[in-house]
């Protein structure tokens, strides 16, 4: 149990996927203007990553590896992810149409979100057991949502702040990221 807790906390805080591994930047820069859509996006990403991870993990160990088709991992994983995102899109359109509209183009773009493919690949290359995979594939997108949420609260203020012309919009957002990254390094050694 101790191992899983460490894995969970380190994936969210110490090795945060956005602030230490730079993945998931595109949606952070694009979506994070409203806190409600940030949380909605985060929830969608958690669901997609968890679902895709379980599916691709099973696919790899019960089909690809036994058939010595490991080199097909990239193609099959990304197709599974694309299918999952389509599925989430359809569900959201039906049950949460407001959120579906708010997220707009960024929902299908979850397919090209580096975090999703990264987690599905790392589950294999790090040799995780089933439970480790479950813990990791939930912890990482939670960490992503955390940063996305914090960022959205700052971004709302940032849009109204006096920023030099050239820095307006994305460059100043990146500077904020730099500061957040610096703050998060304090978590090293937590577990």
């Amino acid at each position: 149990m101790e191992g899983f807790f460490t894995l969970f906390i380190s994936a969210i805080l110490i090795n945060n996927i956005v602030l230490t591994k730079f993945l998931g930047m595109c949606p952070i820069m694009g979506v994070s203007r409203k806190t409600s859509s940030a949380l909605g996006m985060g929830a969608a990403v958690v669901f997609v990553i968890f679902g895709a991870s379980v599916f691709t993990y099973g696919l790899y160990y019960s089909v690809l590896k036994p058939l010595s088709l490991e080199y097909m991992d990239l193609i099959t994983f990304i197709l599974v992810i694309a299918a999952f995102v389509q599925f989430v899109e359809m569900v959201m359109k039906k049950f949460t149409p407001a959120l579906y509209k708010a997220l707009g183009i960024f929902l299908p773009l979850i397919t090209t979100n580096c975090v999703v493919l990264y987690v599905t690949l790392v589950n294999i290359t790090n040799g995780y057991s089933f439970m480790e995979m479950v813990v990791y594939s939930i912890a990482v997108p939670v960490g992503f949502t955390l940063v996305l949420y914090i960022f959205s609260t700052i971004r709302e203020r940032l849009d109204n702040a006096p920023v030099p012309e050239a820095f307006k919009g994305n460059p100043i957002a990146l500077i904020v990221m730099a500061i957040m990254a610096a703050i998060f390094t304090a978590f090293a050694g937590l577990v």
Binding site: I14, N15, Y71, M72, I75
Partner: protein
């Protein structure tokens, strides 16, 4: 209905072509990649077990999940590639145990902890305190880098467990 069949067939053909292309590239490159994988570890294996004639990777069962690879230096002993969680980042090391249960080799391959503290696990003093001990002996941690060295001690215990299962 016809449209869906058309779409599925098209996608299937593209995927088949993709698969064939990759199978070709894979055939071409996999022997080279296999060789490189063993070559990377080979220098370490040769340093730990200089008298062995052959080194090969073997399958094993490990409950802890930290032992990533096991190698056999045929007729001489076994070496284990272990990855544990250190203070900030993972630590990977190789530990070699000979036929009589003595630790004959220890080398840290990757450590990214505090320089001067956690990084001490890569120093020769720590390695010297481990090499020569038997499987039943206790390995001491380093004061000042408790987290990193304790993690390694646990990793060595896991390797010992795999060793016992292989004997």
């Amino acid at each position: 209905m016809k449209k869906i069949i058309h779409l599925t067939v098209f996608l299937a053909i593209i995927s088949a072509l993709a698969g064939a292309t990759l199978a070709f590239v894979n055939n071409m490159t996999s022997p080279i990649i296999e060789e490189r994988k063993i070559a990377a570890v080979k220098t370490t294996l040769e340093a730990i077990f200089p008298t062995a004639s052959e080194y090969k990777e073997i399958s094993f069962v490990d409950a802890s999940g930290t032992v990533k690879n096991a190698y056999e230096a045929v007729g001489v002993g076994y070496a284990f590639n272990v990855t544990v969680q250190g203070y900030k980042d993972v630590i990977t090391f190789i530990v070699g145990i000979d036929g009589s249960g003595k630790i004959v080799g220890f080398k840290v391959n990757y450590v990214n902890d505090t320089p001067g503290l956690g990084s001490k696990v890569a120093d020769p003093e720590f390695a010297n305190s481990i090499i020569g001990k038997n499987v039943g002996d206790k390995v001491d941690t380093i004061s000042g880098s408790t987290v990193s060295s304790a993690a390694i001690v646990k990793g060595i215990d896991a390797a010992k467990a795999v060793y016992q299962s292989l004997k």
